[in-house]
């Protein structure tokens, strides 16, 4: 089905089309970045969830624009119930994977090699969507290696937020609230039992399949070295025959705590961009070699 939307011609000759796709009962917002000429390849970008989305938003837009400038179409979208998309339910990872697969169907109409990028839990979504795409290159920014651990960190953000606001200390833990009420409010985002349980069904490793593929994992932290769990996972992937590249971008960003600001100013340049050329080069190299 052809995508309907509004199109903007960019100064470099590429174009951006925005609109909605999918089931009329719950459509997803999309932005398709197309090169001036027919694309040599295509990339699906799976965004992270909740507060991690806005912190990576412009980075993903810039990457998509850069890919389009290099002759690769890039498709970004918002999961149902998030961003500009329809629905208000927080959703599940299975639902997000279904949205990603629907997006992949549109990219399939180009008949070119397809790669993927996922950030945070979006990496798990991308991995699951790529499971039946043998050899498709996949890039991951700060993937949620262990979804259980991921949500522990999310709940830690809630504790820190409570302490910052002076409200913390006395009440039940976020995990306890989730257990008893089925929903916990973390920084204004509803984390539900369904979301947490569905994430547990999508740890990274099995979803990536048995067929070797190129993988890029970019860790972003102030330590300047990857998490042990990521190093161990990369080792396992390599021994399974995958071509794994592990990079670290040294940044000090807290995705759950909003933009950087002081007084009456909000600084939008505090977001690191070093991962953009690394990712664009990785995807371009593997997708164009696949086409050749």
């Amino acid at each position: 089905m052809e995508l309907q939307g509004s199109r903007r011609l960019e100064p470099d000759g590429t174009s951006t089309t925005v609109g909605f796709f999918g089931d009329p009962a719950g459509r997803c917002f999309f932005a398709l970045h197309q090169p001036a000429a027919p694309p040599a390849a295509a990339v699906l970008i799976c965004q992270p969830i909740c507060a991690e989305g806005p912190r990576n938003y412009r980075r993903e837009v810039d990457l998509a624009r850069s890919l389009a400038g290099g002759g690769i179409a890039a498709f970004r979208f918002h999961y149902r119930g998030s961003g500009q998309s329809e629905g208000t339910a927080p959703g599940t990872i299975d639902g997000m994977v279904a949205d990603a697969r629907a997006a992949l169907q549109h990219l399939g109409s180009y008949h070119v090699p397809i790669g993927l990028l996922g950030t945070g839990l979006g990496a798990n979504v991308a991995a699951a969507a790529a499971a039946d795409m043998p050899g498709a290159p996949i890039a991951m920014w700060e993937p949620a290696v262990d979804p259980g651990r991921y949500f522990k960190d999310v709940f830690r953000a809630r504790v820190i937020t409570d302490l910052k606001s002076g409200a913390g200390g006395g009440g039940p833990s976020p995990a306890r609230v989730l257990q008893t009420e089925g929903l916990v409010d973390v920084a204004g985002y509803p984390i539900t039992t369904e979301l947490v349980e569905s994430a547990a069904r999508h740890p990274l490793s099995p979803d990536l399949g048995e067929h070797p593929r190129p993988m890029l994992v970019i860790e972003m932290n102030a330590r300047g070295r990857p998490r042990e769990s990521v190093v161990e996972l990369a080792r396992r992937w390599e021994s399974a025959g995958h071509d794994v590249r592990l990079e670290v971008v040294e940044v000090d960003e807290s995705w759950w705590f909003g933009a950087s600001g002081r007084g009456g100013t909000i600084d939008t340049t505090a977001t690191a961009t070093e991962m953009l050329p690394i990712t664009a080069d990785f995807l371009t190299a593997h997708l164009t070699s696949a086409r050749a």
Binding site: Y57, G188, Y189, G264
Partner: protein, 303 residues
Amino acid sequence: MTGAPQVVSEEALFFDSPQGNLMGVVTRPARPTDLPGVLLCPGGWYGTSTNRNQVVVRLARHLADRGHTVLRFDWHGVGESGGSIERFQLDAPFADDVIAASGRLAAEGVSAQIMVGVCFGSRSAFTAAQVLPAVTGLALISFPVPVPELKAEFKARRLRTGRLARMAFRRSVLAGLFDRDMRRMYRKGLRLKAQSLLRRLGAAPPPDLTRLDPTAVVDGLHTLRERAVPVYFLFGEEDLQLRAFHEFRAGPLGRFLDQPDSGVEVATAPGDMSAFGTLAAQEAAITAITDWIGGGARSAALP
């Protein structure tokens, strides 16, 4: 909880602003009505026009469900919009973007418009509304008074010394000493507290309240009153901006607001409205704005 309305029609579109081509989403009601259109101006903290957890998207759909045509948009340099920005400055609002968005909303066939702005968006809407004759109502959520010192002062005063001492020995707080983020937060809290104590002892200068000229705000309100445009200020009870707003009420702003025909309504709701940091605050904002547009914006219209 506000019930989720049925989305009738949403369209993503582009339109030009002097600073770049902007992306917006128009939400249309099931049937055309003669109700005013609504322009939603998002906050700068969050980034895109959705605001946190789709709060602006949900507000747009609620208003469309009640018959309004609604437009939300990404600021230039943000989200899907073109152009670039390095920083949002609360004292340098993006009025040009609001004016451009107002023009795009007018193209939907609505002649009268109500503007709703959040934090930075409220500053931008307030500035633009003064030169846009189509504006018939203005709702300003967490209208910011950009006083850099005030945020630190407010936080430090709220954290009582005795409470701070008790908190320091909690098991969870001691455990936080092993965590980098937590240590950073503790350091900041102690610095703020020390600053506040020094101020109380007269050893540090008072907060700088001079950056916003209250006269400019009052002049803007006069302009809107002359055009019979009702203005609704909505603050969260935990907003830093609420305290700053109260500081300004002590001056010419207060004298203006105390007039029976000021056309200004000031309301508060629980929580923090500037960042919509809780689900409850988001719901409260949607309800308050929907109610005001549905009733207050029309009944408060000035003679």
